[in-house]
Structures are given as structure tokens and as C-alpha cells.
């Protein structure tokens, strides 16, 4: 297509704007990375000397180690439970008619708009009232409720896109419902289930506000441990941890994009 000077200029301005916005997105990541490798304890730019000692300190710091372990425990339980609960409910939502369907769906999706501090406070009070100790159970249950909307949506969309004639074909060939579910529906839903689980796991591992309310010293997750650290210390070991965090998440995202097609998961593929 022939382009006029005006159009070229417009394209240039557009590209510049996008670059600036990308810069805004990347800036804190870049700065935190520089700070993490800075040898000095006080933040200063540009750094005079480089070192890895903040990484060593972050890895050795007991609260971070505990937080990482606790976070992993909570994440694995919460995302797995949420996947099972959410997938089964999404199936019922797509295929069945039952009482209070709309109501249950509405309530389960409501954590998308209810502020996390409200959910956290609610579970804190509830746990105190029914006499639960502030152990893992409360944290996991709270996380399940918080990530459930994402799992339900992800699985529901996959179910919608699943041609029902596969299941009818299996039934016509003599497979009873449970067998249809295990040999046809489940394998065909697998990509949706994996992306739903991954989504849930990442969100749960990063959940902070509600966790701050429902965790105790013994169960505090990594974001809570990091928050407490930032409030008390100013040395760059937090920056070092952030870098590890960013790299870990980015690797997961690149993986998800390569194997599952993030564009499809997020529903942003150009329609033609």
C-alpha cells in the first residue's frame, strides 16, 4: 500500500508512543534489577560496584525461605482444589439446569469485584467465630474462593468451544456417561484445564492483600513476608528477591505462551 509522508509521520509518532509506554512498563523492572546487583546497601544510581551478595542474603533469609515454602504449599493446594471445584462447576453450568444456578454462579464470580481486603477480613472473622485456628486450612480456603472465578471462566470457555457431538458419538458407541467424561470430555478439555490451573497457581502464589489478613506468622506466604521486610529494612536483598520473582514469572509466562497460546487464553487474537 502506498503511504504518504503524513502517514509515515503518524506511524512514527505511534511507534514512539508505544515505545515510551513499554518503557514505563519495563522501567521498574529494569531499575530493580540494577539495584539487585548493586554492591552498596544504600540505593544509588548508577552503581559503583556490582555483586551478587544481595541474592545470597535473600536466599539465606529465613522468613523468605519459610514464606516460599508456605506459599508453595498454599498454592499447590488452593489451585488444585480450585481447578477441581471450578471445572466440575463449569461443567454443570454449561450442561445442566438446576436450582439457584444463576445465584451460585454470581456469588462464585463475585470475588472479581469484591475488594480482597474485604474477603480477607471476612475469612478472618469467620475463622475466629467458628473457632478455627489460623492454620493453612483458612488460607487455602480463602485462596480457593479468590481464584475460583478465573478457573470457572477458563474451563467454561473451553467447554463452550467443545463440540458436543464428540460426547454424543461416544454415547452412541456404547460408552456410559462416566466413561464419556473420562475418555472424551476430559482429554479434549485438557488445554483449558492446564491453563486454568496455571492461572490459578500464579494468582494464588502472588495473592497478597487477603493473605495479609488470614495468614499467621506460621503460615505467612512469600508476598506477606516480602511486605513485612520492606516495611522494616531498606537493603537491596528485597530487590534481589524481586528479580528472582520476575524471572520465574516471566519463564512461566513464556512457557504458557509457547504451549498454550496466551493470546487464545486471554481472548485477544485478531479475528481475521
Amino acid at each position: 500500500m502506498p503511504r504518504s509522508t503524513y502517514q509515515r509521520l503518524l506511524g512514527f509518532v505511534g511507534k514512539l508512543a508505544v515505545l515510551l509506554i513499554l518503557g514505563f512498563l519495563v522501567l521498574p523492572v529494569a531499575v530493580v534489577t540494577i539495584a539487585a546487583f548493586n554492591d552498596r546497601a544504600i540505593l544509588s544510581f548508577p552503581p559503583q560496584a556490582w555483586s551478587l551478595r544481595w541474592f545470597a542474603k535473600a536466599i539465606a533469609y529465613q522468613d523468605f525461605r519459610d514464606g516460599f515454602r508456605n506459599g508453595l504449599v498454599v498454592t499447590v493446594w488452593a489451585s488444585t482444589i480450585a481447578l477441581m471445584v471450578g471445572a466440575m462447576f463449569a461443567y454443570a453450568l454449561d450442561r445442566y439446569r438446576f436450582r439457584f444456578k444463576k445465584g451460585i454462579e454470581g456469588i462464585l464470580l463475585s470475588p472479581l469485584v469484591i475488594p480482597h481486603f474485604t474477603v480477607g477480613l471476612g475469612f478472618l472473622i469467620l475463622a475466629a467465630q467458628v473457632g478455627w485456628t489460623r492454620g493453612y486450612a483458612v488460607v487455602v480456603f480463602c485462596h480457593v474462593v479468590l481464584v475460583l472465578p478465573f478457573v470457572i471462566r477458563s474451563v467454561y470457555v473451553s467447554l463452550r468451544n467443545l463440540d458436543q457431538s464428540y460426547e454424543l458419538a461416544a454415547a452412541s458407541l456404547g460408552a456410559p456417561p462416566s466413561r464419556v467424561l473420562l475418555t472424551v470430555t476430559l482429554p479434549l478439555l485438557l488445554p483449558g484445564l492446564v491453563s486454568g490451573w496455571l492461572f490459578a497457581a500464579i494468582l494464588s502464589f502472588n495473592e497478597f492483600t487477603a493473605s495479609l489478613f488470614v495468614t499467621a506468622q506460621r503460615t505467612q506466604t512469600l508476598p506477606v513476608a516480602m511486605y513485612n521486610y520492606v516495611r522494616e529494612y531498606a537493603d537491596p536483598s528485597m530487590a534481589a528477591l524481586s528479580v528472582m520473582y520476575i524471572v520465574g514469572t516471566a519463564v512461566l509466562i513464556v512457557f504458557a505462551n509457547a504451549f498454550l497460546g496466551l493470546g487464545k487464553v486471554l481472548n485477544i487474537e485478531q479475528s481475521r
Binding site: 503518524l10 544509588s44 462464585l108 469485584v113 481486603f117 475466629a128 508476598p223 520473582y245 509466562i253 485477544i268
Partner: protein, 283 residues
Amino acid sequence: MNAQPFLRPFTAPAVLCTVGLVAAMAAVLQFSLRAYVPGSLEPGGFTLANFSDLLKPLYAKVFLDTVWICFLTAICTLFVGYPLAFALVRTQNAILKSILLVIVVTPLFLGEVVRTYSWIIVLGNNGFINSVLMNLGIVRQPIQFMFTTFGVVVALVHVTMPVMVVMLAAGLSHIDRDYQKAAESLGAGPVRTFLTITLPLSMPGVVAGVTTAFAWTFSAFATPQLIGGGKVNMISNLVYQLGFASFNFPFAASLCVAGLALTIVVLTVLRLAARPLDDLKAH
């Protein structure tokens, strides 16, 4: 013949979660109607005093500030996010597109604490921006970003941007490119095509993005807490302080209830305002 063979086993766990969530929300509601007994974790009798206390100027201001910050953040995020979403959807180069996508999406999964901490390093008095400006001799005294509404909003825009871009991109990607080609064939220039075709057709995505950005910002805690540092307060900070510093859980609960009511009102207004756009979603 049973047409719904797995109904019970498949819905029972979800019903359990529903009951749990409803119970938690009911607990908040119940606490918001109870009296605060200083020095005790157990609340007193039923009262409406918590809600009348909300009207005190100190708390009313926090409410207004919260709405203002959410509004500001949503609008700024929209203006910054739109070009990026546009680039993301229209880029033809697959590798470039993947890179854009990863850059946009990674912060979405980074969590509030890491991102807020990063912004402290960027905006602090000894932080990146002030160091660079002073080293270049542009300013003598560090500019105060921390503990200001500006600083909080900048960080919040960064926090909210990925979800805004994803929502806008979803809206933009479902616009048929032929509309744009048709407009161009009729002699409309690129700016005019954008303003008369693409922008109106992307309005459903814009509304979804603004709505979500508003709700997310409302829920933010670490950012106003760490960057606002007590000078810029949102409802979330007040709830935490009341709960964990003064153990006044009944009042914290009433703040949550009022905050939730406010969220619902704002989201409903946004949705009603967007109703004329509903027929754009049809295709």
C-alpha cells in the same frame, strides 16, 4: 433416563465454596452492626454507631480520596493502555507480538508487593529518577514523589495497566478489519478512520477495561500503604489499620460494607452508562 448424571457430585463442592464465601461476607456484615469493646476482640451488642461514625469528616475524606484515586487511575490507565493494546492487536510480526504480549502480561502476574517495591526504588528520594536528575544537575533537591497522590497513582497505573490492555485488546481484536478498509476506500484518512470507526467499535472493551481497572484499584492495598506511607490513605489502608493496630474489627467491617456498597454503586452506574453500547457486542 437421567440426563444430568453428575449434577450432585459436580455442584456440591461449588455449593460448599459458595456457602463459605457467603458466611464470610455475612460475618463482615454482622460485625459491622456490632459495638466495639476497647481492649477486647469480642464485639459488643448490635448498633448502627459504626455507620454513623463513617460520616465523620476524617473517614468521609478517605472515601472521597479513594474514589478520586480510583477514577484518576482508571482514566490514566485507559489513555496509556490504549495505544499498547492497539499495537498488540495490529502487529503482524509474530515474534514482536509475542514479545509485546510477554512484556504486557508478566506484570499482571507479578503481584502487588514486588511491583510496589520496584516503584519505591524508582520514585524514592534516593531513587532512580531523583538520582538521575541530580546527577545531571537538573534539580538540586530531590523531588518528592513518595507519600504523594501522584506517586500512588503512577504506581497504581502500572499495577492496573496489564489488565486494562488485555481487556482493550480483547475488544479491539473482535473488530472486523473490513470496516476499517471500507472507511479507507471511502476516502477517510487514518486519523478519521480511527476516530469514526475503530474507536466507537472498541467502546465495549473500553467500558470493560475502565470497570475492571476501577475495581482493581479499589482493592489495592500494598501500593497506597507503602508509597502513600500514611499520607495518602485509601479504604483498604484504613481497614487494615483499624483491624490490626486498634483491633476495632467492627468498625473495619463497617468500612468494608460501605466500600462494597460504593463499588457496587459505581459499577452499576458505569454499566448503565454503557448500555447503549450493548448492540456493538453483538458481532
